[in-house]
Subunit: 481 residues, 2 copies
Amino acid sequence: MADNNKKMVEDITSMEEDFAKWYTDIVKKAELIEYTSVKGCMVIRPYGYAIWENMQKILDGMFKDSGHENVCMPMFIPESLLQKEKDHVEGFAPEVAWVTHGGSEKLEERLCVRPTSETLFCEHYANIVHSWRDLPKLYNQWVSVVRWEKTTRPFLRSREFLWQEGHTIHATAEQADEETIKMLNIYAEFCEKYLAMPVVKGRKTDSDKFAGAVATYAIEALMHDGKALQAGTSHYFGDGFAKAFGIQYTSKENKLEYPHQTSWGVSTRLIGGIIMTHGDDNGLVLPPAVAPIQAVILPIAQHKPGVLDKAYEVRDILKAAGIRVKVDDSDQSAGWKFSEYEMKGVPVRIELGPRDIENGQCVLVSRHNREKSFAQLDDIVAAVQAKLTEVHDGLYQKALANREKRTYRVKAMDEIVPLLEQKGDGLVYAMWCGEEECEDKVKEQTGVGSRCIPFEQEELSDVCVCCGKPAKHMVCWGKAY
Amino acid sequence: MADNNKKMVEDITSMEEDFAKWYTDIVKKAELIEYTSVKGCMVIRPYGYAIWENMQKILDGMFKDSGHENVCMPMFIPESLLQKEKDHVEGFAPEVAWVTHGGSEKLEERLCVRPTSETLFCEHYANIVHSWRDLPKLYNQWVSVVRWEKTTRPFLRSREFLWQEGHTIHATAEQADEETIKMLNIYAEFCEKYLAMPVVKGRKTDSDKFAGAVATYAIEALMHDGKALQAGTSHYFGDGFAKAFGIQYTSKENKLEYPHQTSWGVSTRLIGGIIMTHGDDNGLVLPPAVAPIQAVILPIAQHKPGVLDKAYEVRDILKAAGIRVKVDDSDQSAGWKFSEYEMKGVPVRIELGPRDIENGQCVLVSRHNREKSFAQLDDIVAAVQAKLTEVHDGLYQKALANREKRTYRVKAMDEIVPLLEQKGDGLVYAMWCGEEECEDKVKEQTGVGSRCIPFEQEELSDVCVCCGKPAKHMVCWGKAY
């Protein structure tokens, strides 16, 4: 038993002391990941992978319900294929991993390991799209991609990461544009309804667009430390890729036309997002919808007759109701178990001892605020379900309150630095003229970059926060992961 | 519409004429895959991927029910890590793809794209296994792997393929051995119960073992053309990998011990297996358990009032009962639709016309034998479920009959060639002394290689079919994919 005690909470760095260290402590101690000998490549351990599986299941259902189909493209892109769309290759070539040999033979052409798969989908669409009858294609794939980053952090920026990438192709620009926004809305709904993570929806400025896109939309979430996390993106390509790859279709009117495309993706980065949105100094706090264990039953004085039997009975009842539940009947101490499941972020703890059983009740404890309540054992399913809803709502409200507290509206650039110093990092809402020069200047002089142009615009003033010329948009600025 | 007519059945090569061509016709025309510009790397299209998703869902459930957890390892293996186990590197190094550059920089050490992940799991186990309390670890992952094959065929032998690889580590040799056999049995159950594909379970001869294994077990299925397909393998490693990677644990008795390991896998090769087991000259024939569409409703004279409404009503009833069902209400001709869904291998066709509706009935047609029957619309769920069971059983019996017809028991080597010439390729059961020399000689002189030493042994004679010395085992020989 002694070797397990190293997991006690004393070992976590506090968030206030060092947020970055707190984060890496959690990913290791909650057993989400383990490092490997290749920098930026990690093992996603069972508990971490189960969170991803739960995310996948929900998202995959949302994609399929909205008419999308899964496919699987190869992982290799020939160098010549990557180069077909000029902006795209410029954006990605500096950070791809190159395969040069197969066995002992040098390849005739280098292959890169996909950093994203637009080029592969375009090659495929050129093969299978010929008539208006072939459109739209609403495809998605669940794969890993590789980007050879210099600095890496588990989930947030790793050289290999898991994601889904949707790639759709449509007859008209309107349909493609509609798809781009539809998927952004699905991502926002997923983050808010299942991850309890409020997001700002908006459009990226031109300097921050995806390589090859006409427009990039994003959802931005605010982390506990006041930094922003780009949680998902959706790109509208117009017919740029179609022209570069020679994808054409015959319309109903028998004319040869270029189709319009989109792509959109979210990744295991979302796991980093939920850690930094909900976690605390006792460890992970998981939103119930994606928690591998939603409720853990801790039998108190489990050696006493009837305790374990009752615990198993309650487990079976909850399980039958579709709740992911576990009994920890190990010989660890109650204190160890409390710490362990707090560290693992299990939303609800159920304490069940001899006295409770006598009274036909048990104790429910919410992970996020440690509030205790009694529940009747003969109504346990409804009680746990209500508690899970309460935890989800509590997490969402807490995250929203943090974001609101840390959202600052400013009219002049020189307000920004003092505000952040006084109140801490956060989202800065300010007007912008639309010129890249001003965007760069704000970043240089205040440290906050443009995160997005929120769909929900406010007229904070009519002039640019930087140059004083007429403002075009309100921009959401922030420091970012 | 005209451009779709190329899908008509006339276009498929017949099995008798050219089985290999028939196979590639089907994978293309049933829209399972599309080729890419990289040899041996294919796009798995929605219909093909949906088959794989159904397989995954069933297998993943079987793995989890037997206590396994999913994880995800990186795709890259440093050259030095691959080299740690001598036999393993010898087996795989000649066929791996090497990454030598990240962006524009040459890597300090080459990385191979995983051909299989024993070395990565071992590195991880060395990090996380310390005490008997940490054992066993029963891990699995769903990923793609790369093997730089010279000759490639969709699903059967591609340079990249999707699979699952289980990797487990146990305190004792007995437990690891038990796991190896348990997983082989799960594979066999999956093939027979869900893919309607009978298999022979057995042990590989030493010359055919997995690189680094103490023993390799396999399931072998017989394809329609009489060739064998290795459909799944399960390997027992003993403590060889543990020793090579320095994985040790402290036992209950406080002694330092080496743990014992296994690995096991099945891949998208199984899709090739079901094509070649059940397919016919009209196209694919899918076992109901993994068919993306289990029943297709074809409305007859759909322009007549009430026909489409009834079709949608029947669809909704079947869907609610958990049956994967589709209505084809397109403006294609009935003939086109019949061909299309035969090509796609949909197990049950439901024909529904005005006269049927008047009589409160519809026509059910089984894909595999084209048998028609009437079903009452007010009992449609039970009728379709019964038909699906009937199709599964029919497929299994047909495949089993083909295998039995093509299983030959011989006592002398010179019987083999004339037998295969007269009756066609198949499985040859014959005794073997256990010497590699005889194994090689049988292969050279008759063209059939050792597939496995079946668990169900028969005493066909007491001497080796090749050298005449005392026999040790009955071997199942055959030509293989």
